[in-house]
């Protein structure tokens, strides 16, 4: 744990060092404020907006599997000990989820353009 924190500190120090060096090597230390690149035009609106993600259905499908990973890692530790029943149960569960994937595919959730 201490070592992980130490690495985080090293990483932060490395980034900070680069920024410090940059203050002296750059043609100007202060950043230039400019409009976002828009092919040479000036924007009339803020780009940050409620972005229409057309793959939102897919995120739900992903979430189902992602929650399943909570079981997956503990399961990985006991497969050999518990034996056949653990494999049958887990892959039965995964089979149900895959059925969901097939259903979502048939409903067109995997293609959005």
């Amino acid at each position: 744990m201490v070592n992980v924190l130490a690495m985080a500190a090293v990483a932060a120090a490395a980034v900070a060092l680069l920024y410090l060096v940059h203050r002296y090597t750059a043609v100007a230390a202060a950043p230039l404020r400019a409009g976002p690149f828009l092919s040479g035009h000036r924007p009339a609106q803020h780009a940050v907006s409620r972005f229409h993600v057309r793959w939102y259905v897919l995120t739900l499908l992903f979430l189902a599997f992602d929650v399943e990973m909570l079981f997956m890692y503990p399961w990985a530790l006991v497969v050999a000990r518990v034996g056949t029943s653990s494999v049958v149960e887990m892959f039965g569960f995964l089979g149900v989820l895959m059925a969901g994937v097939v259903y979502a595919w048939r409903e067109g959730a995997l293609r959005w353009s």
């Binding site: 992980v4 690149f37 993600v53 497969v79 000990r81």
Partner: protein, 309 residues
């Protein structure tokens, strides 16, 4: 196994950055655009680029979300170094927690937030699109990656990296988990925005998440990308290629050689194909790669039960 001393984070971090620089050198050597220039000029590419970006001024845009933007730029480098903490390089890792595999997984998911932030924070359309592209792409590779990570864990009966490596004495996992190995490498390219997975930084959207940062902001983001590749390659050699196992040569050298080889393969693949757009590969990922990875996991689990029981 005893805990590594705290100072070991320094050589570990240096090693990751050395691999990252090596990857950048190799990328310069392989670039057909520079074919006519001397090998020295091509190999020096990371030096020229670093000098250029250290000299270049930083930018800020109109009302950026500065915190998220800067965090997104520096984040990938920090994540790569934190990933490397659990990777046994040269026989021993900096830290060897019981959940080493999950640690790696958690950090690669943290990248979702960071790269998205790098796109969102700049308040520019192209960057914004790039950030969301990263999420769409992650939906394709993340699940196969998780199941690919589970394979070695099941075979070793442990999530601790040292035990996963130790379990490969006699037979490397790549031999009986080739699918998981391939999926893992693809996912490393995926979370590093590399080559065919460069969709979030696409030239068609003026560089996507790379459209706005300049100077040192851009430098840490690009360095982070190479460092992620390096950390991923080191992880692949430990998870699937037996880590330090090998004849004659000392273990640390085997680790280094395997990592370098995987990294070189990842760098080389960049020239081989165009960018894979998320909307086009999504069906492939969910209907072919995911079931294949699950089948791989089933094979591993059955073998683990037979051998263990």
């Amino acid at each position: 196994m005893t805990a590594a001393p705290v100072w070991s984070v320094l050589p570990a971090a240096a090693l990751v950055l050395a691999y990252a620089s090596g990857a950048a050198v190799l990328d310069g050597l392989l670039d057909p655009a520079d074919r006519d220039r001397g090998a020295g000029v091509r190999a020096g590419r990371p030096l020229w680029e670093t000098a250029r970006l250290l000299r270049q001024r930083r930018r800020s845009t109109v009302t950026p979300d500065a915190l998220l933007w800067r965090a997104g730029a520096a984040g990938p480098l920090v994540v790569a170094l934190l990933m490397a903490v659990v990777v046994p390089m040269g026989g021993r890792a900096v830290a060897d927690p019981v959940v080493g595999v999950v640690w790696f997984n958690a950090l690669d998911v943290a990248l979702w937030l960071l790269v998205w932030s790098a796109g969102w924070g700049a308040n520019g359309v192209y960057a914004l699109v790039g950030g969301y592209r990263y999420l769409a792409q992650a939906l394709a590779y993340e699940l196969p990656l998780m199941f690919a990570l589970t394979g070695p864990a099941v075979a070793a009966g442990s999530l601790r990296m040292s035990e996963v490596v130790a379990a490969q004495h006699g037979l490397w996992f790549v031999v009986w988990m080739p699918v998981a190995f391939g999926v893992f490498l693809g996912a490393v390219a995926g979370f590093s925005l590399w080559g065919p997975f460069g969709y979030p930084a696409g030239r068609d959207v003026a560089g996507g998440v790379l459209a706005e940062p300049s100077g040192v902001d851009r430098l840490v983001l690009l360095a982070g990308r190479y460092a992620l590749l390096a950390a991923g390659a080191a992880m692949a050699s430990a998870l699937f290629l037996g880590g330090p196992a090998g004849p004659v040569l000392p273990g640390w050298l085997w680790s280094a050689l395997k990592t370098a080889l995987v990294l070189a393969a990842l760098v080389a693949v960049r020239r081989r194909m165009p960018v894979l757009r998320a909307d086009r590969v999504m069906r492939l990922a969910w209907l072919v790669v995911l079931p294949l990875t699950l089948a791989q996991l089933l094979v591993v689990a059955v073998i683990a039960v037979v051998v263990g029981g």
